[in-house]
């Protein structure tokens, strides 16, 4: 069984990727876009899982990394002619990494609650800066820009269609998953997990815990920034709303719902959350509620029932939807 | 015993995570009796006291206090039933003054102002040093004074039994004899005492019966009169 496990894993992964690749060809436009969005938010949540699930640090700062990735890409796309995909990727990743380094420096020396609050405040610092520095960031209105072509200079250039963009996102997200998985299973990842289990002991054994934490935050920030770049590519705009700490909070929700410490769990969590959002938005209209006598509930945001579900899960199902598979996935 | 014992502990088991600390402890304390619990470090003496006080919930067994089964009752109810617990590291409230520390036990329903005054007076007679320091925060007291305060505080509950966990640990010899006097005074007041100690002479001198514990079980049980310092049994289980 032990020897077969990697085989089972790879087969499973290929099946899932294949399904996700075929999906845009058969789904109607709206659901196709939603699927791509689920993948992007899933990547963001996965990056956060590195911190929460593997290092044991709850961060509310991911919106900053995500947003800076988005704005970095936006800046690159607005400043290159024709808009260059790789430049956007590089700019977004560098911006996110810089922010992650900054936040990591201040926050990692703090434990638990202080860390969470400080990362939250840093998100807000960046939010305020972006919101008010209108000349650079477009302020409240954000930035809009052209989607770049998938191009390798000198070889070919092809504009993205909705489907090819989806495949691009799928490729990036799957690749990121594999990289993150490799990281968590490496000796580095093992140290992170031992920090999560018992930080004091890990420090006592001689590991420079702060340094590991900083690297963990930076890696996490890098992939979060990558998600931001993808989002910019998908939607062709960047807005300060994405830097607001609530986005970080929602990311953490995906983690918890999906199952921390599983890497794929958060993607499932993102999917679950976004599908619930769609579902409730459609259901909570007079059309469906009035006949059941619940007309008074019309217009209520999806966040109320979803939030209640989240709270219930935190209390009763803390391991999340896929949490039971954590052991298995971490082999 | 011809009458019901005040405290009956029957075969209690307790775990701390995966460690099996108490492997079936049974003991009894009669009304007004002074009983000693001897044993090395880590054998489960403190855990036994905590189980009786309701601060730790045994996984198996029974504890009956004053006719009432108590396992599962919240700790604050146990205190109200008449169990006064004095923990191993004293644990007085460091930022409360001496008087306020005493008041945590004094301020109970059904205790009128006159009664409270009387109790305070009595305890200040036992422990004049506390009277001097009554407005000082508990954390500024010396180790010995904190021990006095911890005992005095528990006495404010007017308990039927006092659970003392290593009260002489880290104290000067002069204070050790003070502790001995306090135990005798409690006995005169018909308050039962369950004394956990590593100080063998004190325990043999102050107590009527002794239980010796090793690895979470009672290994020996005898009246104090039958045991002497230096006995083989004492040496076997305590190494002294």
């Amino acid at each position: 069984m032990k020897l077969r496990q990697p085989v089972v894993f790879w087969i499973g992964l290929c099946v899932i990727v294949a399904v996700l690749a075929v999906a845009p060809l058969i789904l109607p436009v709206f659901w196709r876009r939603l699927l791509t969005e689920i993948l992007i938010w899933g990547l963001l949540a996965m990056s956060s899982d590195l911190l929460i699930g593997y290092t044991g640090m709850v961060s509310f700062g991911h919106s900053a990394f995500f947003g800076l990735g988005m704005y970095g890409a936006a800046a690159a796309l607005l400043n290159s002619n024709p808009p260059n995909l790789w430049f956007a990727l590089a700019a977004g990743l560098i911006a996110a990494a810089a922010v992650a380094a900054f936040v990591a420096y201040f926050s990692t020396r703090l434990r638990d609650i202080y860390f969470a609050i400080t990362t939250l405040i840093f998100s807000q610092i960046f939010y305020v800066i972006i919101f008010t520095w209108t000349s650079l960031t477009g302020g409240e209105n954000g930035l809009t820009f052209e989607r770049p072509a998938l191009a390798i200079p000198g070889l070919f250039s092809q504009q993205f269609t909705a489907t090819t963009l989806h495949w691009f996102v799928l490729a990036v997200v799957s690749g990121s998953y594999l990289i993150l998985r490799r990281i968590t299973q490496s000796p580095f990842g093992m140290v992170l997990q031992s920090i999560r289990e018992n930080e004091r002991r890990t420090r006592a054994v001689g590991y420079p815990v702060e340094r590991y934490k900083i690297v963990s935050v930076m890696l996490s920030g890098l992939f979060a920034g990558l998600a931001g770049v993808l989002y910019a590519l998908q939607n062709q705009f960047a807005a300060p709303d994405f830097v607001f700490f609530v986005v970080s909070g929602e990311t953490v929700i995906y983690n918890v719902i999906g199952g921390v410490g599983t890497l794929v769990g958060p993607i499932a969590g993102a999917g679950f959350f976004l599908l619930l959002r769609e579902g409730f938005s459609r259901l909570f209209t007079l059309k469906y509620l009035a006949p059941v006598g619940l007309g008074g509930l019309a217009g209520m945001s999806y966040l109320v029932p979803v939030g209640l579900i989240f709270i219930a899960m935190v209390i009763f199902l803390p391991q999340g939807l896929l949490g039971f598979a954590r052991r298995w996935l971490n082999r | 015993m011809t009458t019901e014992p005040l405290l009956a502990v029957e075969d209690i088991h307790s775990y701390y995570g995966k460690s099996h600390i108490l492997h079936g402890i049974s003991l009894e304390v009669g009304r007004g009796e002074v009983v000693g619990l001897l044993g090395r470090n880590g054998v489960g003496k403190s855990t036994t006291l905590k189980a009786i006080a309701g601060l730790v919930h045994p996984n198996a067994g029974r504890v009956v206090f004053d006719g009432q089964p108590t396992i599962g009752l919240p700790a604050h109810r146990m205190a109200r039933l008449g169990i006064g617990y004095v923990p191993e590291d004293r644990r007085i409230f460091p930022l409360l003054t001496v008087t306020e520390n005493l008041r945590t036990g004094l301020d109970r329903r059904g205790v009128g102002k006159a009664k409270k005054e009387a109790l305070l007076d009595k305890v200040y007679q036992y422990f004049p040093v506390l009277a001097e320091r009554r407005r000082q925060p508990g954390g500024t007291l010396s180790g010995g004074e904190q021990q006095m305060l911890a005992i005095a505080r528990a006495m404010m509950l007017e308990p039927k039994i006092m659970l003392l966990d290593e009260p002489t640990e880290g104290l000067m010899p002069r204070m050790v004899s003070q502790i001995r006097e306090i135990i005798e005074a409690l006995h005169r007041d018909h308050v039962a005492v369950l004394l956990v100690e590593q100080n063998v002479p004190l325990t043999l001198g102050a107590c009527e019966r002794i239980y010796i514990i090793e690895k979470g079980v009672v290994r020996h049980h005898a009246p104090a009169a039958e045991l002497r310092v230096g006995d083989a049994i004492i040496h076997q289980y305590l190494g002294v």
Partner: protein, 290 residues
């Protein structure tokens, strides 16, 4: 710099007024954290709901006092219910779990309020009339009265904690929960009670803020951020420190807004936070750790 001295004085008054109310918010947060190690993310939403109850009561009765009392009582009860259903089951667990749970509560309450009360902000206009002249500018009395009320409530809390049986129960439980139980203090009730008191303080702050700022579903978010900064700068669990920190930060904020827009003036608080974390992480106003 060209700022008339009179403006400076006005801003000082404004800073003190906001600071006192912020101190009230932060005290509630610190009280709860000190006794049960829970950082209540939803504290801002208790403030917001309290503000709404206050606005509605004021509209119905015209009495600011009734608004204050009603909001405090209603939200105290509501807080107790939230605690008993959602937080108590989580008490033994990982502290991060309570952060998540209270964050969830905060989301639910914000969106509930948005749905129930709509997006348009409400206000309590000038609950007490009259102004006095400071230099050549008029300053309204009600602002000072509000500051006085906040100070009175905080003072009342201090007295309650210092004297009185329940105050001793709360302080003992904060210092050593296990021994408090061993002394017969009904700790589960004390925890519920403190959560209710903290929530009531947040609600009262909401009502006190209502004449100064707009009441809408998102107002809690602004104030919770400031409250967090205050609590960290003042020293986690340190009541006196958070009061000083609240006034300090509000004054800085008020002065900053002489030069920059309000949404930017919060950067000053952020900078103070960063400096505190760098140089005195236990808190600027906390006693130096031994």
């Amino acid at each position: 710099m060209g700022v008339p001295f009179a403006h400076f004085v006005i801003q000082t008054l404004n800073g003190i007024v906001s600071g006192m109310i912020l101190a009230l918010v932060a005290s509630g947060l610190t009280l709860i954290f000190g006794i049960m190690d829970v950082v209540n993310f939803a504290h801002g939403e208790f403030l917001m709901l309290g503000a709404y109850v206050g606005v509605i009561t004021f509209a119905a009765t015209g009495s600011f006092w009734l608004a204050l009392i009603a909001a405090s009582l209603v939200i105290a009860a509501f807080g107790a219910v939230v605690y008993l259903t959602t937080l108590r089951p989580l008490l033994g667990r990982d502290p991060l779990t309570t952060i998540l749970a209270t964050f969830g509560i905060s989301l639910v309450l914000q969106n509930y309020a948005l749905w129930q009360f709509g997006p348009v902000a409400r206000k309590i206009e000038e609950p007490f009339t009259g102004q006095f002249t400071l230099f050549y500018l008029d300053y309204p009395w009600y602002r000072l009265i509000i500051a006085g009320l906040a100070a009175a409530i905080i003072g009342g809390l201090w007295l309650f904690l210092k004297f009185g049986t329940y105050g001793i129960w709360i302080r003992a439980t904060t210092q050593d929960r296990v021994m408090a139980q061993a002394m017969g203090i009904p700790v589960p009730w004390v925890l519920t009670g403190v959560f209710a008191i903290g929530s009531a303080m947040a609600a009262a702050s909401g009502v006190l803020f209502a004449p100064l700022v707009g009441v809408d579903h998102a107002m809690g978010v602004d104030w919770i951020l400031r409250a967090f900064i205050v609590v960290v700068v003042g020293g986690m669990g340190n009541l006196g420190g958070s009061i000083l920190a609240a006034i300090f930060i509000s004054l800085l904020d008020a002065y900053a807004s002489l030069w920059v827009s309000p949404s930017q003036s919060i950067i000053v608080s952020f900078v103070v936070l960063i400096l505190t974390l760098l140089f005195r992480p236990t808190g600027l106003f906390a006693p130096t750790p031994k």
